[in-house]
C-alpha cells in the first residue's frame, strides 16, 4: 500500500467520500476480478463488487491500518461472494451476452487472438465454477491477485498450513475436472516448454488441440 493510499484511507475515515472514491477507482479491477471469478456472472460480480465497497465504506472505522487495505477489502468481497453463492439460484447466460467480453484488460486483440483468449478464459471459468468456494478463493487470490500465503490466510481467516492444504486440494480438483472435461488423455500445451520441477521447465511440448467451445 503506497503513501497516497494511506492518505486517502485517513481522509475517508474522517468522512471524505471523494477520498474513498479514489480508493474504489484504484481497487475496482482487483475486486471485480475476484468477484467475477467467484461468481462466474458479470452482472452479479459487479453488483457484489459494489456491495463489497459499500460495506468497506460503512465499516472503515474497523479497518486496522497495520494490515494491507487490499487484504481487508478482499476479505469483505470474499465473504460476500460466499454468502451469495449460498443463496444463489442458478441462472444461465449465453457467452455472447456476457458484457465482460468488452472489458478485457491487456493487449488490444486481433479477432483470432480475441476468440482464443475468450475460449481460454471461458475454459478457466468453467473449471473454477465447478470448484467448491473454499477451494476457489485461494486459487483466485494466488493466481489473479498474486497474494502470498500469509495474505490469503488473513483474507480467509485461516492458518498458513490450512491455506497450503486448500491450494493443494484446489489444484487436485482442477486437474481432475480438466481431465474429465477433455476427450484426449494428452495433457494441454504448456506454452513455454517446461522440464523437471521447481523453476525449471519441462522439455516435453505436447501439442494439445482443444475442441472449440460451443456457443
Amino acid at each position: 500500500m503506497n503513501d497516497q493510499e494511506e492518505i486517502w484511507i485517513q481522509q475517508a475515515r474522517g468522512g471524505d467520500k471523494r477520498a474513498f472514491s479514489r480508493l474504489v477507482e484504484a481497487y475496482q479491477g482487483p475486486v471485480f476480478s475476484l468477484t467475477y471469478r467467484m461468481l462466474g456472472n458479470a452482472q452479479e460480480a459487479e453488483d457484489a463488487a459494489q456491495e463489497a465497497f459499500l460495506r468497506a465504506y460503512s465499516n472503515l472505522r474497523q479497518y486496522n491500518p497495520s494490515h494491507k487495505f487490499s487484504t481487508w477489502l478482499f476479505s469483505i468481497a470474499n465473504h460476500h461472494c460466499i454468502d451469495r453463492l449460498r443463496k444463489r439460484r442458478v441462472t444461465w447466460l449465453s457467452i455472447e451476452d456476457n458484457p465482460v467480453l468488452q472489458n478485457l484488460t491487456g493487449d488490444s486483440p486481433q479477432p483470432e487472438g480475441s476468440a482464443l483468449r475468450r475460449e481460454q478464459r471461458d475454459e478457466v471459468q468453467r473449471l473454477l465454477d465447478d470448484l467448491e468456494p473454499e477451494y476457489r478463493t485461494p486459487l483466485i487470490l494466488r493466481y489473479w491477485e498474486e497474494c502470498s500465503y500469509e495474505e490469503i490466510a488473513q483474507i480467509m481467516d485461516l492458518s498458513i498450513p490450512a491455506v497450503k492444504s486448500r491450494l493443494f486440494r484446489a489444484r487436485q480438483q482442477v486437474a481432475k475436472l480438466y481431465r474429465e472435461s477433455q476427450p484426449a488423455t494428452i495433457p494441454p500445451h504448456s506454452g513455454d516448454g517446461k522440464q523437471g520441477r521447481t523453476g525449471e521447465r519441462a522439455t516435453r511440448l505436447v501439442q494439445f488441440t482443444a475442441p472449440l467451445a460451443s456457443a
Binding site: K17, S21, V24, E25, Q28, G29, F32, S33, Y36, R37, A45, E46, A49, Q50, F53, L54, Y57, P99, V100, Q102, N103, L104, T105, G106, R117, Q120, R121, E123, V124, L139, R142, Y143, W144, Y149, K164, L167, F168, R171, Q172, V174, A175, Y178, R179, P187, P188, H189, S190, G191, D192, K194, G196, R197, T198, G199, A202, R204, V206
Partner: protein, 195 residues
C-alpha cells in the same frame, strides 16, 4: 496394503507438486520430490499436467468492470445514506409523535380524573394556593415597611453606604489580582507569568 502405500505416495507427491508450483519447497522436500519424480513416471505426467494448468491459470486475463463503476458506487452510496437518514427520521418522528400523543393523552386523562373524581382535592388545592399567596403577600409587605422605616434613620443609611463601598473595593481588588496573575509577558508571548 501396497495400494494404500501407493496412494499415500501419490498424495505426498501431489502435495509436493503444489508447493513446488508456488516455489515453497524446503531443500529436503525438493530432494524428495526429485526422487519421487525419478521413480514414478505417472507422477511425472501428473506434474506436466499441473504445470500446464498452472500456466493456463496464470495466463488467464485479468478482468475489469464496466466503465462508470465508480460513478455507480457513488450513486449507491448517496442512495444508501439517504435511505439511512430517512429511516432515522422516521424512527425519531414516530417516537416523538408517540411521546407527544402519550403526553397529551396523559394530561387529558389526569385532568379528567381530577375534574370528575377529585373535586374536593381540587377545591382544597385552590384554597391552599390562595392562602399561601396572601400569606406571602402580607410577609413581603411587612419586610418592605421595616426596610423603609430603617432607611429613614441616618445611621442605617451610612452603614449601608459603607457596606456597598467596601464590597465594591473588595471586588475591584480581587479582579485586579486575578488579571495580574494571568498577564502574558510582553517579550515572550508563549510565557505566562504566574502570580
Amino acid at each position: 496394503m501396497n495400494m494404500d502405500k501407493t496412494n499415500q505416495e501419490s498424495e505426498r507427491g501431489a502435495w509436493l507438486m503444489s508447493l513446488a508450483l508456488d516455489e515453497m519447497l524446503e531443500p529436503s522436500e525438493a530432494e524428495l520430490f526429485d526422487a519421487l519424480l525419478a521413480e514414478d513416471p505417472k507422477l511425472g505426467e501428473e506434474w506436466a499436467l499441473w504445470q500446464a494448468l498452472d500456466a493456463k491459470l496464470s495466463k488467464a486475463p485479468r478482468l475489469a468492470p464496466s466503465t462508470g463503476f465508480v460513478a455507480e458506487f457513488e450513486r449507491r452510496q448517496t442512495q444508501r445514506e439517504r435511505r439511512r437518514r430517512l429511516w432515522f427520521g422516521l424512527i425519531v418522528g414516530v417516537m416523538a409523535a408517540t411521546l407527544w400523543f402519550g403526553l397529551l393523552a396523559g394530561l387529558a386523562g389526569a385532568g379528567a380524573y381530577v375534574m370528575f373524581r377529585q373535586t374536593e382535592t381540587l377545591v382544597a388545592l385552590v384554597h391552599g394556593v390562595a392562602y399561601w399567596y396572601s400569606a406571602l403577600q402580607s410577609q413581603l409587605d411587612i419586610w418592605a415597611s421595616a426596610v423603609s422605616t430603617l432607611l429613614g434613620t441616618t445611621q442605617v443609611r451610612g452603614a449601608l453606604l459603607a457596606y456597598v463601598a467596601i464590597a465594591v473595593l473588595t471586588l475591584t481588588c480581587w479582579v485586579r489580582f486575578l488579571r495580574n496573575s494571568v498577564q502574558i509577558e510582553p517579550d515572550n508571548p508563549a510565557y505566562v507569568r504566574s502570580a
